[in-house]
Symmetry: C3
Subunit: 272 residues, 3 copies
């Protein structure tokens, strides 16, 4: 199987940084295929990086090594990590970036990057993606055994669990996790929340509504189930409730943004 | 020959979507090389996507599979298509995105994507690039026979033909199809239009002018044939008449944009 | 070794241009791995392109062929070049883009691209990256001997050498070369300048300061060595003095930009 490294950073693409990281990976694993998840995570925004990784990693084959670098603490004593979780491997700073993928795995193994023979020869204090994380990811992709990177870590940094909460028998409270380039809004109301809410509706999705910034929004199956310019909610491609506007930007139409509260409410009664 | 998939979408690169599509392709075709044409087609702009595909596909080797997704109708009953045209293969929603490449081929074969064994196991209603089109493109690249995707389609959706029109013996009317990142403007006046106009000038290109927003612009061979800051027209790299400004942005200097009318006029007489 | 071509242009990624260049490379070298350094060099900004190439190329393995195209003179008589320097190969227009990599090599060999059998069959006057430079880079990566591209060039265009200058025993004057996406500012004060300044401090880095737009900034080892929101200077990942703000944008906080003068000053006396 051809080695595969997927990259996720907050470096953007206007500078030479992403190219240099890829050069460093190919220096130790010339056969690697390199895939960008995104490099446009907002600068230093660990929470956004953790969500993007969560939303994408299962679309990749399990031999993928993910190199995830959103690293405001570069050059400090924060640890570097490698993780083996759900069949995938990840390399990242120890700052919470791997929180969601670690929580999704029943038996994640996390190790600290201490084996400096896997690093670049000279290590800058500001560019560990090129000098530490990239080379380790490349070597793991090339076949270096996972336990060679360093000792097991029992206490990786984890972000607060977050997630939607049930307010009453008919109300759940969540928030907008991410607004995408189309203005679609992914919330922290997960598929299992959704299933519970649907059960509270006796399985009748027309009784579910989402309230965002005062607008009451119906559930549907696809964007085009509502008229152009109208808002809808659906179970989105990241297995979370998503609020969208058919042919438009939900964020703009509803005046919402990341962090905006979202209320899911069960209304009416199921027809007998 | 190594399998090759070229991607063209309106997803932009700030989200995880393009990465997830690539993960899905590599899950079924681990050896594939993946090349981005662009992901910055304006959201839902099928006409712009169709032009970008037309302008680029012949630069690729013929074993390339193009995955083109600008898909405002995702989740509705619109069909998914695969096409075999001019030696290339294409996978796209049936909404006109393939219009130009189908028209350029004498014997295009178009099929509907109905063979769900080629799709991802679970299919969201909002992300067919990851769940349907990407996997089919990957499998075609990996060697799945073209006729396995589904039955032949005789009536794919096609955009209006468009193109420049001749107003008189000495005047052709077209419009700006695309403004690029430099501000260069590609028009719908094609190489064959150009050849006809040149014939009307008795082969003397100094008699050809382009009129855009009231400015009369001479033809030239290269940007630097006119002074810095001056406008020129030339037969551009997409085999269409292009209006540019040497060292500047034609769109800004001329106050033009996509859709702006363009008049090509033959002036004067050829010296005897 | 798998052929590897790294691309650096001012094309941006919103158009089909980068995709077309890659298609042209893969048409002559189907096995090539393609890596983007960046395509967001400001339009026609040869100096910025030369810096990005300098800052990145040594992170790549030496079999890499760099395709560097910032080419305001496309279509004129400006030469096309291939260079062999420091073990790497480069393909670029002859306009100074290779200045820094040529100066870093003791024995660079530069040749003019005259062998048109290595080019695309038809050559536009506006897109030599697709029609000339890309195909040559692809063929070099695929194994074409370097001396096949054309005759030796003794006088490639070189940008002015630039660099910091020593004003007195305790003062060096430089300028900001590049502002990155985080707002970090790389200066033209090199590692060897830095070493000389450090010697003038008797090796005591706490005696070094940088003055930018009236602010006096201390040297440190890592971003987090100063309080959040505070400025610092350090020897950055491109082996040049960099001015940054911990958790913020130095360019914004200091009101500086590319070209802003920077003064490095030795202050105080070393404790006896």
């Amino acid at each position: 199987m051809r080695p595969l490294v997927a990259l996720l950073t907050d470096f953007r693409t206007q500078d030479h940084y992403v190219g240099a990281v890829k050069g460093a990976i190919l220096s130790v694993c010339p056969e690697a295929a390199l895939v960008d998840v995104t490099h446009d995570i907002p600068a230093h925004d660990i929470e956004a990086g953790a969500f993007a990784l969560l939303a994408s990693y299962r679309a990749f084959p399990t031999h993928t090594v993910f190199l995830a670098v959103v690293d405001p603490g570069v050059g400090t004593q924060r640890r570097g990590l490698a993780a083996h979780a759900s069949g995938y491997r990840f390399v990242a700073p120890d700052n919470g970036l791997l929180s969601h993928v670690l929580r999704e795995s029943a038996s994640a193994e996390v190790r600290q990057l201490t084996n400096s023979s896997l690093f670049r020869l000279t290590i800058s204090s500001t560019f560990h993606a090129r000098d530490v994380f990239g080379p380790v990811a490349g070597r793991l992709a090339a076949g270096t055994a996972f336990d060679q990177v360093g000792p097991v870590v029992e206490d990786p940094v984890l972000l607060a669990r977050g997630g939607a909460s049930q307010l009453s028998a008919t109300e759940w409270k969540g928030r907008v996790l991410h607004v995408d380039a189309f203005g679609n809004m992914t919330t922290d109301v997960t598929r299992s929340d959704f299933d519970r809410i649907l059960a509270a509706c006796d399985g009748d999705p027309t009784r579910m509504t989402v309230i965002v910034e005062g607008s009451t929004i119906p559930f549907a199956e696809a964007y085009a189930d509502v008229a152009e310019g109208e808002a809808l909610a659906l179970l989105g491609s990241s297995a979370r409730v998503e609020v969208a506007v058919n042919g438009g930007s939900a964020a703009r139409v509803l005046g919402a943004a990341r962090g905006t509260p979202v209320l899911v409410r069960v209304v009416g009664e199921t027809a007998p």
